[in-house]
Symmetry: C2
Subunit: 202 residues, 2 copies
């Protein structure tokens, strides 16, 4: 059996990577990864479904044990992707899809170089600015910061394998689906099937 | 502007690469390459449309000048792919699609390593045998030879980038279209666009 693919969707805030992620999950049998967090469960959130909830002490121990593919601190809470369930899915032939920021994508690529990293980019920075402004939740100051960050993130394009321009959301989702299908057709992801064929009639 | 893609469809005789090639040309704006040949024009064939017709002496001179991406002799006639028009198309941003045997694919990869080489394979060798038998034109002896050749060709899988299993022709065509789209989304094929974006707002 061929191993599953680990696919990472990343890109600047406002590029639409969350929407693309949800639609790709919806249209494929790809697995989500469940994050570990130190923040308290909200009403209705279930252990192992929404998150694995851990104390900060437990979390620090997991970091020390090297149990994370990536980890980040956001507003005094930790969020991280545990390696074990992801690697188990991949070994069992399931594809896993991630949505992470550029920092997280770099960390995953470092720990699992076979990961397929896709950078989602708005058509241009003006469009990104307009979209962020359209949310109505950003001050001009924070908007400037976000645009600056977006540019610094795109400047790291060399660590990514693909770039998808999110001009039309339907096309962007299709581009990601095509990338996943193409990756599944790569020779290196079919060695076992090919060897079986060659052995089969020897 | 991004350079065009050179995509090579190859695989054993009977795998259906010719059908896939025609359908992909039909559904995309990809360019065919016009071959050079030493065989005589048939009624209705036009210079520069069906083939570039050359004498054997001219052809040998072209070989000596290194003008071919690949060249082969079939029943005492030569057939070859001239580099110049292909490279001109690629430079102008047009994608070019080839259908060649495994020998030709190797030659193209050697002269143009950026070429995307796709191996078209029937689901298994029994199916290939049944398809060849179904043509009704193959003796058992020639069928055996073809199956042996197919196996030796698949054994060269490492020179290819992708493998498409032609179980269902519609799906196989879609796989090739997805591969082409994914290749266009590769970072290395978007460097100029990315640099323009980064420069644009500097």
């Amino acid at each position: 059996m061929n191993k599953g693919l680990l696919v990472v969707i990343s890109g600047p805030s406002g590029a639409g990577k969350g929407t693309i992620y949800s639609k790709v999950i919806e249209r494929t049998g790809m697995q989500r990864s469940v994050s570990v967090t130190t923040r308290k469960p909200r009403p209705g959130e279930e252990e192992g479904v929404n998150y694995f909830f851990r104390t900060e002490e437990q979390y620090q121990q997991m970091i020390a044990n090297g149990e994370f593919l990536e980890t980040a601190e956001v507003y005094h809470n930790y969020y991280g992707t545990p390696k074990a369930p992801v690697f188990e899915n991949l070994q069992n032939g399931y594809d896993v899809l991630f949505e992470v920021d550029v920092h997280g994508a770099r960390s995953i690529k470092k720990k699992y170089p076979e990961a397929v990293a896709i950078f989602v980019m708005p058509p241009d920075f003006e469009t990104l600015g307009a979209r962020l402004r359209g949310r109505g939740t950003e001050s001009e100051q924070s908007l400037k910061l976000r645009l600056g960050a977006a540019k610094r993130e795109l400047a790291k394009y060399e660590m990514f394998d693909y770039i998808v321009f999110n001009d039309d959301i339907g096309q962007a989702v299709q581009d990601v689906l095509d990338i996943v299908n193409a990756e599944k057709r790569k020779i290196k992801n079919n060695i076992e099937a090919i060897k079986a064929l060659l052995g089969q009639n020897d």
